[in-house]
């Protein structure tokens, strides 16, 4: 196995409280040492990281790969290739594939496909309920055994709070993390934008903040009741953040993530009827965006995810409410995170923690850190390199992003997974 030396980079490893210029030593696919001379170490390969940042590979808690079932939107191969180019070394695949991830067979199929793709590690998230129908429990123990890292009902509705309670109790019996997408469907009422001045002006079906905040409040009570490890996926508004902050103060074991685009766009930024802005949860208000940024800085929100949802052209071709929601967002994850640093919303150290250490802690995996002995999952990026989002740079099958055509700053130069270079610029 190759020995690799990454020299003279700005090493940021929040899990080990490292933030300094130095070198990383890799051997046998594992991190050997950081900033310490290793005697007798002769590198087979040296990567000069001068002026670049060296950090643990990013862990993305929500990335749809559209595989199995919707390969016209993307495949495990195409989307993990895009993820590798974005510095992502591990990602979680929500269970709403087709077929749903609710059997060992589907879980193993995904594991098999991603092993062959040989790119970032794919962690399937098992279905919380059978076929995601929201009524009966899935075989969680079998799913866990087959490799599911958590369980979730994705954006599918549950038929009752009793089902949610039982599912949380059962998941907790198997020490499985429950990832919950807070939404009360009867209140969201098939809306497609935030309920506010924008929706009113354009006559679009809308979703009030209450449909998310009520779901957060209910689920927090059930976490208290069941003792389940709970993670909120993609919260979008201030009222949810306030409730999570209170729960954390109270000592509840709960974490939360936010989709990167929610930290940058609001309903005021939506170009009227431009379907690339159609996303769920919808873009909220300036006040919500500000609150989400503050929540990330103060630790209420632990994690930034991509919430990657690639689409084919047809899915976005139609009148706004009829188009499919979602943004293809793996490749803009790092530059948009760096923009938060530029806006002084978070420090670079905090931003990297939200992409590495924090998601690893939530998933309870030995990753997201440059700890000696851990698999050498590493991202090296140039924080000042500008690039334009266009067909020459883009790798995902889905080109559905409101950032298409824009020039962004910050680009990954190398991605290593278990000491193997899976991407170079």
């Amino acid at each position: 196995m190759k020995k690799i030396l990454i020299s003279n980079g700005h090493i940021i490893d929040p899990a080990n409280k490292i933030d300094q210029i130095g070198s990383v030593y890799i051997a046998d696919g594992k991190t050997l040492a950081v900033n310490e001379q290793v005697s007798g170490f002769t590198a087979d390969l040296t990567i000069d990281a001068t002026d670049n940042v060296v950090c643990p590979g990013f862990i993305d808690l929500s990335a749809r790969l559209r595989d199995p079932g919707q390969s016209y939107k993307g495949t495990i191969l195409s989307e993990t290739t895009a993820a590798a180019s974005a510095g992502i070394t591990s990602l979680c695949l929500p269970p709403d594939t087709s077929p749903v991830i609710d059997t060992q067979a589907v879980t193993e199929l995904i594991a098999d496909k991603s092993e062959k793709a040989n790119y970032p590690q794919v962690f399937p998230i098992g279905a919380l309920t059978h076929k995601l129908a929201g009524a009966e429990l899935s075989s969680m123990s079998a799913l866990k055994q087959a490799g599911c890292i958590a369980v979730s009902n994705a954006t599918a509705a549950l038929t009752s709070l009793l089902v949610l309670r039982r599912a949380m109790e059962y998941a907790s019996s198997h020490d499985l993390l429950v990832m919950y997408h807070p939404d009360i469907p009867s209140l969201s009422n098939n809306g497609c934008v935030h309920e506010g001045a924008f929706a009113t002006r354009y006559g679009l079906p809308s979703i009030p903040e209450a449909s998310e905040a009520i779901a957060v409040a209910q689920c927090l009570e059930l976490a208290e009741l069941t003792g389940c490890r709970l993670h909120f996926s993609q919260i979008s508004c201030k009222r949810s953040a306030i409730k999570i902050q209170q729960a954390k103060k109270y000592g509840l074991k709960v974490t939360a993530d936010v989709a990167i685009h929610q930290l940058h766009l609001t309903d005021e930024d939506i170009e009227p009827f431009n379907s690339s802005f159609h996303v769920l949860p919808p873009f909220r208000t300036k006040k919500d965006k500000q609150s989400l940024r503050e929540s990330l800085a103060n630790g209420t929100i632990d994690i930034i995810c991509s919430d990657h949802q690639p689409h084919d052209l047809d899915a976005k071709l139609g009148a706004f409410p009829e188009t499919e929601p979602g943004i293809s967002s793996l490749e803009t994850l790092l530059p948009l995170a760096l923009r938060l640093v530029e806006d002084n919303a978070v420090t670079l150290y905090q931003g990297i923690a939200a992409l590495t250490q924090n998601p690893a802690n939530t998933l309870a995996i030995e990753s997201g850190a440059l700890t000696p002995g851990f698999a050498a999952d590493i991202c090296i990026f140039d924080p000042n390199l500008s690039w334009t989002v266009n067909q020459d740079t883009w790798k995902s099958e889905g080109r559905n992003t409101p950032f298409w055509g824009q020039t962004l700053k910050g680009r990954v130069t190398h991605t290593l997974q278990a000491g193997k270079i899976i991407y170079t610029l």
Partner: protein, 319 residues
């Protein structure tokens, strides 16, 4: 963002929404309609302005009245008109909206008049159609119904002349009304002194004030001293979706009665985009009474649509 409705010279090319249009453009539409107004009384009710042009009425939602006035307006401009009722046509066989448009484009048409149940359908078609084709929105979801708003503005101008002194009240289901949204935008653009909306909270959109209106939940307060009263049609579905308890209670609280009409100015006019639910939103005697201009709205509908069709086609390249 550049306004999709305007050509490179800033002239109206599509007519999709009042939103983003200037007072000058709206006034030009009203003035052009005015120039057609003497025509309706003539023996020969035709001008050759759009001779040789093909106009397609593309109605994804049924509406006999709006479609008929568009057909009549097109015929009076000497255009050839084709009306397609999509509700019973190809799209129900799985043909996509875009395929339908592409097929009609291939037949060398010049204008689409579109009614659709989804907000933004008109914008979508205008964005995806060949550049020489003009698109007129005849109502899309809850978004806009700009030709209806313009015929209402024309009617108001006929009776009241100057917008700057007017207080206008719109009563009814504002939440679901594309007519109300377009009327509010038109009234504000034309410099109306005050626009009020009157409805229970269940029928008002959130942040309704952001549209530039004052909201009232009590009809008596809202009607005080207004010059123009616009009633909206109440759809039966509102009762089954828990927005209102009953038609009877609605009429009791928000119906326009002779008694309530007295709260407005003595010379106030009463408007309704039709069709009327007599005894639900308006008392029969008012609908047929001296202050009602409801039938005048209908006849104005033809000349205002003639104005919009001829202006957009003239401003669109080869016309």
């Amino acid at each position: 963002m550049k306004n999709l409705q305007l050509n490179t010279e800033g002239k109206l090319k599509h007519f999709l929404s009042i939103d983003g249009l200037s007072k000058e453009i709206l006034t030009e539409i009203l003035d052009t309609a005015e120039s057609f107004s003497s025509m309706s009384e003539k023996q020969v009710k035709k001008v050759p302005l759009l001779r040789g042009k093909t106009i397609v009425n593309l109605f994804f939602e049924n509406s006999t009245r709006t479609r008929t006035t568009f057909e009549l307006a097109a015929t009076r401009l000497s255009a050839d008109v084709l009306s397609i009722n999509i509700a019973t046509s190809a799209t129900s066989k799985g043909e996509s909206l875009l395929d339908t448009i592409r097929n009609l484009e291939a037949m060398h048409v010049d204008m689409f008049i579109v009614r659709h149940a989804i907000s933004g359908a008109g914008h979508f078609i205008a964005q995806n159609t060949a550049p020489h084709i003009s698109v007129i929105n005849a109502g899309d979801g809850q978004h806009a119904h700009p030709t209806q708003a313009m015929l209402d503005m024309f009617t108001i101008r006929q009776y009241k002349h100057d917008f700057s002194q007017l207080k206008v009240a719109i009563i009814g289901d504002i939440l679901h009304s594309r007519v109300a949204r377009s009327q509010i935008q038109a009234l504000n653009t034309l410099g109306c002194k005050e626009v009020r909306v009157i409805a229970p909270k269940t029928l008002l959109p959130s942040h309704v004030e952001s549209l530039g209106v004052t909201a009232f939940n009590c009809i008596e307060e809202g009607l005080e001293d207004v010059d123009v009263i616009i009633m909206l049609r109440l759809q039966k579905e509102r009762m089954t979706s828990a927005l209102l308890p009953s038609e009877r209670e609605y009429f009791k609280c928000f119906g326009l009665t002779e008694e309530r009409l007295k709260l407005a100015k003595g010379n106030a006019i009463v408007m309704h985009p039709g069709p009327i639910n007599r005894g639900v939103e308006i008392e029969s005697s008012i609908a047929d009474g001296p202050q009602s201009v409801i039938l005048k709205q209908v006849s104005n509908g033809i000349i205002v649509r003639m104005a919009i069709m001829s202006l957009t086609l003239q401003n669109n390249g080869e016309a």
